[in-house]
C-alpha cells in the first residue's frame, strides 16, 4: 500500500518541475591549469561522439589530451560498489561534462592563476575556491 502511494506521488511529482536545488548546486573541482588546458583543447575532446564526456583533467596536457573514459563492457550487481571518500579541497580525478559545458568553458574568461576552481555546469559558472 505504502509502495503504491509512493508510486502515485512520484507520478504526480513528475508532472511538475523536477530539478531540485541539490542538483543545481552540483559542481566539479579542477585546478586553474587543468580547466585552462581543457578550454584550450576543447576541439580534441569534442571529437568524441559521446554527448556526455568523462574527462580526466590530470591527463590534459599529456599525450592523452582529448581522451575520455569509455568502457563498453562492465559487469556488476544491482548497484556499483562505490566507496565514498571524505571531501577534500583537491581537484576531482574525473569530471563529467556535456558538449555544451565544454563549449561554454572555451568561451569563459578563466582566472589566470588559481589552485582550485569550482565549475558549476548549471549556469556554466566558474568560481575560484583557492587563489
Amino acid at each position: 500500500m505504502k509502495s503504491t502511494i509512493r508510486t502515485l506521488l512520484l507520478s504526480v511529482a513528475t508532472l511538475g518541475p523536477t530539478a531540485s536545488a541539490a542538483q543545481d548546486d552540483a559542481f566539479f573541482l579542477m585546478s586553474g591549469a587543468q580547466i585552462d588546458c581543457i578550454a584550450k583543447n576543447v576541439d580534441s575532446y569534442l571529437s568524441s561522439s559521446e554527448e556526455t564526456l568523462f574527462i580526466r583533467p590530470g591527463d590534459c596536457g599529456s599525450e592523452r589530451t582529448g581522451e575520455t573514459i569509455s568502457f563498453m563492457e562492465m559487469t556488476l550487481n544491482a548497484a556499483p560498489d562505490i566507496r565514498i571518500a571524505e571531501e577534500q579541497n583537491i581537484p576531482d580525478e574525473v569530471v563529467v561534462l556535456t558538449r555544451e559545458d565544454l563549449a561554454c568553458i572555451a568561451r569563459q574568461s578563466l582566472p589566470e592563476v588559481a589552485s582550485l576552481i569550482a565549475f558549476y555546469p548549471d549556469g556554466c559558472r566558474v568560481v575560484v575556491r583557492a587563489p
Partner: protein, 184 residues
C-alpha cells in the same frame, strides 16, 4: 516400631519433595529450552522467507532493471568504482549523466520496490524477529552498496514528493548490519 516407620515416612516424604522440585526444575528448563528453539526456528524461517522473496520474479525483475540502468552507463560505473569518490563528486556526476536527462525515472519503480523490501527486512532485523546472522550474511553487503549508490536517487525522489522517509530503512539497515566481509 512405630518410631522407625515414622522416620521412614519422613525420609520418603522429603525424598519425594526433593524429587518433585528437581523434576519441576528440569521440566522448566526443558520448557524454556524448547521455547527458545521454537523462537530461534521461527526467526530463521522468517529470514529464509526474505531470501526466498528476494529471489522472486518481481525482485529479480527490479534488480534486472537496475542492472540494465548501470550497464547502459559503463563510463559512469568506471568512474564510480575506480577508487574512492567524494559524495559531492558522485552527486555531480549523477546530475550530469542521469538527473539532467531524467534517466532516473526509469528505475524509480524498482527503487521503491527495493526500499519497501528493505523496510521489512530492517524492521525484522531491528526487532530481533529474524535471525540476524542469516540477514547479515545474505543482505548486508549488497544493502551497503545499494544504500550508498541510491542515496542521491532517494533524496531526489524525497525532494519531489515530500516523502522524506524514502530510502531511510535501506540506509539504516546498511549502517547497522554487520557484513561478513566487515563494514566499510
Amino acid at each position: 516400631m512405630s518410631l522407625q516407620l515414622s522416620r521412614f515416612d519422613k525420609i520418603a516424604d522429603i525424598s519425594f519433595k526433593v524429587f518433585s522440585v528437581v523434576a519441576i526444575c528440569f521440566g522448566g528448563i526443558r520448557y524454556f529450552q524448547e521455547r527458545g528453539e521454537i523462537v530461534e526456528k521461527e526467526a530463521q524461517s522468517r529470514s529464509l522467507s526474505y531470501i526466498e522473496e528476494y529471489g522472486s520474479e518481481r525482485y529479480v525483475a527490479a534488480r534486472l532493471t537496475l542492472h540494465e540502468f548501470w550497464s547502459e552507463r559503463p563510463a559512469l560505473v568506471q568512474l564510480l568504482t575506480n577508487g574512492r569518490i567524494s559524495e559531492r563528486a558522485y552527486r555531480a556526476a549523477l546530475s550530469q549523466e542521469v538527473f539532467r536527462h531524467k534517466a532516473d525515472h526509469q528505475i524509480r519503480e524498482a527503487l521503491i520496490l527495493l526500499d519497501n523490501f528493505y523496510s521489512q527486512v530492517a524492521f525484522c532485523h531491528r526487532a530481533e524477529l529474524c535471525d540476524r546472522t542469516i540477514l547479515n550474511e545474505f543482505f548486508c553487503q549488497v544493502a551497503q552498496s545499494e544504500a550508498v549508490a541510491y542515496l542521491p536517487f532517494f533524496d531526489r525522489m524525497a525532494a519531489e514528493t515530500g516523502d522524506s522517509d524514502l530510502g531511510d530503512d535501506l540506509s539504516d539497515f546498511g549502517a547497522h548490519c554487520v557484513s561478513v566481509l566487515g563494514n566499510p
